[in-house]
Symmetry: C3
Subunit: 340 residues, 3 copies
């Protein structure tokens, strides 16, 4: 994908200052600009870099006034950041939608339907009785089981596995290696110390605009459904157990884990490596800090928790400050005891 | 899979009350019952739901006495829960065993043997000199290396990877994306600060009735074997390092990690996100709490441990209660010091 | 692979004592030696095992003097450990390089180049405009996107996924299920509580001699590059977020996670389950203990940190020792207060 700076300016309704015939094929940070790249300057803190950058072009705002000579061609637009974002999205859109058609060999059972304008990569597998919408991209080595529903405009990156009976909305994205609908971890202890598997016959429902990160796992419900609601964003290597419900627009960062039957509210933020035990309810707008453990339901919305057994962020930080001083505290206590 | 309620009653030796010709194709929780589903009522706490459920049928115990009118057809059996479990298992059995035969293209080296009644999904790969038993299901995009042994009645879900030399017993299940037999993490530091890989030439042995969760990893031994003993159940995203031994009927929950050469006893329970350092021995029937770190061997069987550097559960909870009060404790100490 | 002990001795310039015609096909630990295996005795602590081992052959040092009768054939070499390592490497080399050629069906776009002496396993996928060096092994069910560069002598184990634009050096190894170049986790919050994906258009650069463990994930940069420098060794299930830089010869153990834009120095050791928040700089030669959380940059090189919010190892251990005594400390404080 190569464009002249004149073409970029035309896309953005911008004005070129300098050589508009230079060709760019890359977006660069201004401090890392190299020939063939286009950057932007929006934050004043980065102004010094514009005098040194080797980027071929830089997008600047209308009212930017240079204090020194600039080697790069400038493209002046109303708002430099918005302009750059526009290119960023055009670029990403172009890249993501570049695949289409069928690569062979790929496998689709004749009982399954797929809409128009799809991509089915080589070695992708689509089992029986699936209903797949329009504009869906199924990358190589993806496996989709039986009786799966997938809405429009979804992207399944290489190696994603969708198990039987999963229901997926529209505009969802599954990153490489994600597993949706694996069996919940349910084993009944028997008297002789062995375990018997409890059949996991529920499914997973994923609503619209959900993103699931690379190598994350979402288990099917024992009965009923594990549900990820509209707009939730799940990072890499997250574990979501059977019968969990993740609320609308809730964000779960990498390596977090949510145990069985827990229900997370709307617009929560769960930071990396956090762990939540099973059968809890977490109120809307709760923020759970990194590596925080939650073992009780959170009833009041809008709290921020931190710690091994998470409690209020500020109180935790105070306790941890004293924890670091504990040996000194102990010495002071001994001194007092001696004086008695 | 559709049945009439009369057919279900016949399977369970039950008695129908109401319309037995209604068709069901789904198992529902009673509080989420919808037409076309069959539920059960066993726990009295849920009795109110039976008067409101929209499930087509509900399995109840012989001695259940309705206090109000019920819309659903009832199936009376000796024990409602046992009856429901029977259907659950029949349902799961039916689903899991529905695949058979060979889907093309799939790959098997002519030097490998596979027993009778198997399923080999499209894009599954079986390398050289493998011995695979009867009733084995190998789902799409599974890769099996060379010199692998797999017993009877095993299930390898989509995208599972079994490396060379792995030995697997019977009735084992591997969930999607699990990796068995990847190289152990062994690097010898050299004088110039670089590292040299130590060849990992051991294997992995997995005994009968073992379950390994989605995207879990079990490394091969440096020499000898990493061993997972009979009946152990491993959840999703668990890491088991080289030369580890997991004892019989030990359960390891999601995102736990066990470092190299550690030996876990029988009938232990290791909760989610727990971490155990290398070269330890953990006694039988040890329970290790969620996100607990273990850095010393556990000699006495039957203990329960919790905490960042895990110790006795009750003592940990007491210490953590004081931890939450540390700022107040510190203030009290200051007060005392002033009075001296 | 079978050899006589005479052949092994010849390889090592060693001297046979006993039956050199015995055939071996396995390397065993001396305490687990079985017929058909060859072991070594280097550490005196293990001497007793040589009198009991059932291994067919044992490599010993020139000056080893047996105190009892030994059943196994001995091979005397200058340094037993070095001799054994030599066999270990020969064995591993032999195993790893045994695959070559093309297995069908596999997929390579005609616009991609691959060097000489390669292995392309069945169901492996190579997209457009890739440049792949010599002696590269691409195992079954690997997916490589578009515009990827891979140097010489790399190994991609089954099910590895390399996304578009990734640049990989020489002598790199990617274990099963690793995902390189998945989208960074970047979402801009909108006023209505929903999130909008920020296009992730950067790439991943992996320098020479890097190893990435099974099911680990390395996200592409938002812009610019996520970089893993020469000689870094990454274990299983590690998460490396967008725009992270891992320094030369840094080792990251299993289930550790490094958040976006953090820069780790050279020759660091990051233990299992450690978590580092985003936008930090970690000095060279820093050691971060297991399950340690790091929320501030580390400026001084060579420190060792431990703890939930990691600080100096020794100070942490002292604080934790007092933490275990907190209930007693609290009682002592109460006693003092009563006496006032």
């Amino acid at each position: 994908m190569e464009f002249t700076l004149d073409q970029v300016a035309s896309l953005l309704n911008g004005k070129v200052e300098g050589d508009g015939s230079k060709v760019v094929n890359r977006l660069d940070k201004i401090q890392e600009g190299k020939p063939g790249g286009i950057s932007f300057l929006s934050n004043e803190k980065y102004e010094n870099f514009i005098y040194e950058t080797e980027a071929s072009g830089v997008i600047v705002s209308e009212n930017f006034q240079a204090r020194k000579k600039i080697k790069a061609t400038l493209i002046r637009v109303k708002d430099a950041y918005a302009g750059f974002t526009q290119i960023l999205e055009a670029y990403a859109q172009f890249t993501k939608n570049s695949k289409s058609g069928i690569e062979e060999p790929s496998f689709i059972d004749p009982s399954s339907n797929i809409g128009t304008n799809f991509y089915r990569g080589a070695f992708s597998y689509i089992g029986k009785n699936n209903k797949i919408g329009d504009n869906v991209k199924i990358y190589p080595n993806v496996t989709i089981g039986d009786n799966v529903t997938i809405g429009d405009n979804c992207i399944l990156h290489p190696g994603v596995k969708i198990a039987n009976d999963v229901v997926i909305g529209s505009f969802c994205e599954f990153h490489s290696g994600a597993v949706i609908g694996s069996d919940g971890f349910g084993f009944a202890p028997l008297e002789d110390g062995t375990y018997k598997a409890i059949p996991q016959i529920g499914n997973v429902i994923i609503e619209d605009h959900v993103s699931i990160g690379a190598n994350s796992t979402v288990d099917r419900a024992t009965m009923g459904s594990t549900i990820i609601r509209r707009g939730a964003k799940i990072d890499n290597q997250v574990q979501i157990a059977h019968n969990v419900i993740i609320g609308e627009n809730t964000v779960v960062a990498a390596q977090a884990g949510i145990s069985g039957s827990t229900e997370i509210g709307k617009n929560c933020v769960i930071a990396g490596k956090a762990g939540i035990v099973g059968h809890l309810k977490i109120a809307d707008k709760t923020t759970i800090g990194a590596n925080t453990g939650i073992s009780k339901s959170i009833v009041e919305p809008g709290q921020t928790l931190l710690g091994y057994m998470g409690f209020d962020l500020k109180l935790f930080l105070k306790s941890y400050a004293v924890f670091k001083n504990l040996p000194i505290l102990q010495d002071r206590l001994r001194e007092l005891e001696k004086k008695q």
